[in-house]
Symmetry: C2
Amino acid sequence: MVIVHVFVRVKPEALEAFRSATIENARNSVLEPGIARFDVIQQTDDPTCFVLVEVYRTVEDTVRHKETAHYAAWRDAVAGMMAEPRTSIKYDNVYPDDSGW
Amino acid sequence: MVIVHVFVRVKPEALEAFRSATIENARNSVLEPGIARFDVIQQTDDPTCFVLVEVYRTVEDTVRHKETAHYAAWRDAVAGMMAEPRTSIKYDNVYPDDSGW
């Protein structure tokens, strides 16, 4: 699997709008055949910090995701909501193996 | 859900031993009724960096996990394998809701 953690810090006044737009994107993303999970989590002690936990089956699936209408809509909707540019880190799965997602 | 990301940097010479011990702990942890996921991932561009992605149903389940024999065995086995003390961050789930784990 190709796992991408995307780190987003949101402007406090945009928290609810960011949550709504990001839930909508996640709902559509999990319908993509190449996406095994697309979790959105919010830091307990700092609710302005979110992580998108994206689990793709292949590298090609990460490219396909960025070609979807829902990704483009999310990217444009949240552009002005971020307190700083988002960052990401890529991971490989150790456990479970590919059959466990 | 109570989601905990545990960040571990491993000494290069201990990589394989850490992977083995951590897979064994994850295999046992997912059998705990209070644990929905217990993923282990390894940073693609720096294989010495791991994240344990632990998804608990309640705070009490995080306490129960630390009382298990497999947690104690893992903690003791990996103590000397870490290049620095491990850290963690707690998150709440935004998507999916609790029924999606």
